[in-house]
């Protein structure tokens, strides 16, 4: 063991002892490794000669495995999450997961023949930003940034920026508008989210 490793080991041991478990234990490298895994899985789905519905199912698995779905769902629901019961929140989270998987999973068609490359990771505020470049056939390469945190207890991504478009914000606007249309009826929204194909 080199001295640097030893010092690093000692320091992180001390840091872990001093902090509640899981908080800020993450490094930029760990965030990058997580996105490496996500991207490897996504590239696999892009390349697989499977049907669109199979791709959507695969995407849902990736989403559940690597994203902090409860946090994303709560953020999307916004202030309305405060008046929701525990049971409603759970039901909303599950319905939201299905809705997101279908909505974004369908876009895999656009990615056929393309690939995503992980660039660099850095610490930003209380979390990490991992930048990637998406190469689509016949398009100039564009940037996709993943925001990663381990505050849920595990390293997970909680937001994606595609060419600067904030997925969390976009979905919060959308869920808010859907809720307005249903006069604030959360149960109706949950029902409808499950049924959107």
């Amino acid at each position: 063991m080199t001295r640097r490793n030893l010092l690093g080991g000692l320091f992180s041991g001390a840091a872990l002892a001093a902090l509640p478990s899981g908080v800020w234990a993450m490094t930029a490298d760990a965030a990058k490794r997580l996105v490496d895994l996500i991207v490897a899985d996504i590239n696999k789905v892009i390349d697989a000669p499977t049907s669109e519905s199979a791709k959507i199912a695969e995407f849902e698995k990736i989403f559940v495995r690597y994203a902090d779905v409860p946090t994303i769902a709560r953020y999307a629901l916004g202030v309305d999450s405060r008046r929701a019961s525990e049971a409603q929140l759970d039901a909303f989270t599950r319905a939201f997961q299905v809705y997101v998987s279908r909505k974004y999973g369908r876009r895999f068609r656009e990615f056929i023949g393309g690939r995503i490359e992980v660039q660099k990771a850095r610490e930003v505020k209380n979390f990490h930003e991992v930048r990637t470049i998406a190469h689509l056939r016949g398009e100039s390469p564009f940037e996709v940034a993943f925001l990663v945190s381990d505050r849920s207890g595990q390293p997970k991504f909680f937001n994606i920026f595609i060419e600067g478009v904030n997925m969390l914000l976009t979905e919060r606007d959308e869920i808010g508008a859907m809720l307005d249309r249903r006069r604030g009826d959360l149960d109706a929204l949950i029902q409808d989210l499950r049924n959107i194909s």
Binding site: P20, G22, V23, T71, I72, R74, Y75, S81, K103, R106, R107, R109, E110, V124, K125, N126, F127, E129, A134, L136, R137, G138, E139, S140, P141, F142, E143, L147, S149, R151, F158, N159, F161, I162, E163, G164, V165, N166, L168, L169, T170, D173, E174, A177, M178, D180, R181, I196
Partner: protein, 274 residues
């Protein structure tokens, strides 16, 4: 210019397709009153803020654009994408995009971006020669991609404010500044002064066709915003502004930091702190 079309844009224009940046098309009240007349929000322009004083008119235009898309552009785009083999569509798109590069170089220079101008000039020369008049994109294979820009971006560099959000009939989402940029860009391409008729229209036609192809190719994504979202106007507006501001600020590594909300702070009353 060839903008990644991952995000749906709601406008399409055959004659103005030259500048492509999918929704950044425009004509505007701003033109009438001049640049100084651009509507500016009272407070400082915070990222994420939306300045939309013409919302009622914009929403009417949005409905018009949706009807136009549903009746004409969407079916045509889907037909185009399913009829034309992908390699042919790509060739056409390369061709149009190559011919619009000199206009991009002019804007690179107006912004003082000499590196960008050189890269685009090199790309243009390389693809014109080795890509057989720009039909292929061998430069892209060597990583010499386009440094995209337009006159709207030039105005941004010159310090002109974004102005109000506008959704224009036929042309789609824009801002007052970008609308002016769109009009000026009809005149920034040197090729349009040097090529004879009808050759000087080839690029425009190819770009229009490739935009139609994009509508078909990204059909699901565009549909999900235009027809499946609860408020398609506000979704298009939000996506357009986020994407455009990102493009304009993307040289700056930290330009988007203040957009990075921490949902963990907001959602919970910090459950992890106990």
């Amino acid at each position: 210019m060839h903008t990644p079309a991952f995000f749906p844009k709601t406008g399409f224009s055959a004659d103005a397709a030259r500048a492509v940046g999918i929704a950044r098309l425009g004509l505007s009240a701003c033109l009438v009153v001049g640049l100084a007349g651009c509507s500016v929000p009272d407070s400082d322009d915070a990222p994420g803020d939306i300045h939309d004083p013409y919302e009622e008119t914009n929403r009417n235009n949005h409905e018009l654009n949706r009807a136009l898309d549903r009746g004409l552009i969407r079916p045509a785009g889907k037909g185009y994408a399913s009829t034309l083999p992908a390699p042919v569509a790509e060739t056409l798109s390369n061709f149009g995009s190559n011919l619009s590069l000199p206009g991009t170089v002019v804007n690179n220079l107006l912004q003082g971006n000499v590196g960008g101008a050189l890269q685009n000039t090199y790309r243009f020369a390389f693809n014109t020669v080795f890509g057989i008049g720009g039909l292929g994109d061998p430069a892209g294979d060597f990583g010499i991609t386009e440094v995209e820009t337009d006159f709207g971006a030039t105005l941004h560099v010159w310090g002109v404010p974004e102005g109000a959000y506008v959704e224009l009939p036929i042309l789609g989402p824009s801002t007052e500044r970008d609308a002016v940029g769109r009009v000026v860009d009809l005149f920034t391409n040197p090729l349009s002064y040097t090529l004879p008729k009808p050759e000087k229209y080839y690029g425009t036609v190819a770009n229009a066709a490739s935009k139609l192809g994009d509508r078909g190719r990204y059909s699901d994504t565009v549909d999900s915003v235009l027809y499946e979202s609860a408020d398609s106007y506000s979704q298009s507006r939000s996506m357009y502004l986020q994407n455009r501001r990102f493009e304009l600020g993307s040289d700056d590594d930290d330009a988007y930091l203040d957009q990075y909300d921490d949902p963990y702070d907001e959602i919970y009353d910090d459950p992890y702190s106990e």
